[in-house]
Symmetry: C2
Subunit: 214 residues, 2 copies
DNA sequence: CGGAACTTGTTACCTTTTTCACATAATCGG
DNA sequence: CCGATTATGTGAAAAAGGTAACAAGTTCCG
């Protein structure tokens, strides 16, 4: 059916399907039906089929999906076959943890540079990655071919840092500062706001019983 | 109107409203209308009113909301007036970053203990917090009054760790391992899955133009 | 005191997302 | 080769979520 407007909920689920398929492939299975996939991983089979249908017809009626083939298709759809270079702004505790995060490499992302404003940190090396002066962001970005930025600075500086990043031409940004940021529509900005998650947990603790599955 | 089934989307937004109100209170304002709040922070005024209406009538027609009063109401609704003690399982890089995360204290959460399986880490101290043997989780939990757990171990151990945590009686868990976990309905489990966010960014980078605001 | 100016709480409407149901197509055993 | 079986892709129904519109209540000011 090849839909042209793809919801982020759909791409999030593709990411999940990919993980499930990796597990099945690892077990040596060759094919899987949407129903088996759903039962095994607690998903909905209709939703799996519908999500996939947005991008083409990958299954075979009466058989299901060829696991290896579908894995490759999803990897291609999610762009995981392209390499990306990441610049992390804020070489603090979170920046350091992220620099060494295996999930980046797994997803074909590579941390190319860290940036900080603190003179004591500039010039140091964290997990083999050099810390640059944030003032040189634009220059370093060009030299290093950085196409993804991560914001890991205190919330009050986050908006300014974002504007600098966008001015330097980066179009994809992941923000960990607990504050909503504003960017142009042609910039993909993803905020991971731990405060919201924490306060949501707190709500549940105050009102047990009224759960609501994620 | 006092709805009884509250969506997580609503509690997430309450958290955002609280931040906005904090900012306004800081500026010395006394009242605010849903319309002003919406314009200033890029929200929708009808949604603000509807979210609040789930919990009672907090506004005054013709006036708006008394900022200090509404702040206290939201703090109460989200349970942020209760203190919580957090146990972090996995004293690695992420665990260390989280131990020192200011956002916990701000939200009335306190990191009481770290847990690890690595003998070299057990007994050490990270940001004034002691690292215990994960085998002693249940005992330490009782001594320290831990009521919230954080999972920061590699994905392959996450489900086992969750089961141990739940067996020890903890009812609220935040999981950072990039894998969906299964728990009983009476346990609130919140997974922050960075891999999904990353792969969603990757999708955008592969298909610029088809953005989709968060 | 009375009408203009506001602003809430709520209902009705619209959009998005999920689930259901089934026609359609491939496989397999005999 | 055919009927039984399996499982996809999709349109229709249901559920959830978001937006708009407005009646009802409050304040302000002459
Ligand atoms: N620590 C965590 O576990 C954690 C978790 C989730 C979110 N966060 C958020 O991530 C951000 C960073 O947290 P952290 O704990 O690493 O803090 P941190 O204080 O350890 O590190 C912040 C770093 O940013 C640098 N910095 C400040 N202003 C800067 C600027 N304008 N340009 C470049 N660098 C600048 C500082 O010099 C410092 O090195 C905060 O917004 C925090 O709320 C932290
Ligand atoms: N590093 C990051 O920035 C980051 C970001 C998001 C998510 N994560 C996820 O968080 C988890 C931890 O990441 P990390 O980078 O801190 O890894 P890490 O290797 O630095 O730390 C993992 C720690 O868990 C301990 N551990 C292993 N098995 C255990 C068990 N059964 N019980 C108790 N402790 C155990 C290890 O000894 C180690 O100290 C991983 O699942 C990772 O995918 C990490």
């Amino acid at each position: 059916m090849k839909a042209d407007k793809i919801s982020e909920l759909t791409t999030n689920r593709l990411s999940i399907y990919l993980r499930c398929l990796n597990e099945l492939a690892h077990e040596g299975r060759k094919t899987v039906s949407s129903d088996r996939l759903a039962k095994r991983f607690h998903l909905n089979s209709a939703q799996i089929r519908k999500d996939l249908a947005c991008f083409g017809e990958f299954g075979v009626r009466g058989v299901g999906y060829y696991i290896e083939d579908l894995r490759e298709q999803i990897i291609r759809i999610l762009g995981l076959d392209h390499h990306h270079r990441v610049g992390i702004v804020g070489a603090g505790r979170l920046g350091a943890a992220l620099t060494d995060y295996y999930g980046f490499r797994q997803t074909n992302f590579e941390v190319a540079a860290l940036f900080d404003a603190d003179p004591e940190k500039i010039g140091s090396v964290v997990s083999d990655v050099k810390v640059f002066d944030v003032k040189d962001f634009s220059k370093v970005r060009k030299n290093e071919g950085i196409d993804v930025a991560v914001i890991a600075v205190p919330a009050e500086y986050a908006q300014k840092v974002l504007e600098m990043i966008v001015d330097a031409g980066v179009k994809a940004v992941m923000n960990f500062a607990p504050t909503p940021l504003l960017a142009d529509d042609d910039v993909k900005l993803k905020t991971i706001d731990l405060t919201i998650s924490l306060e949501s947990l707190s709500y549940f603790l105050a009102r047990p019983g009224k759960n609501g599955r994620e």
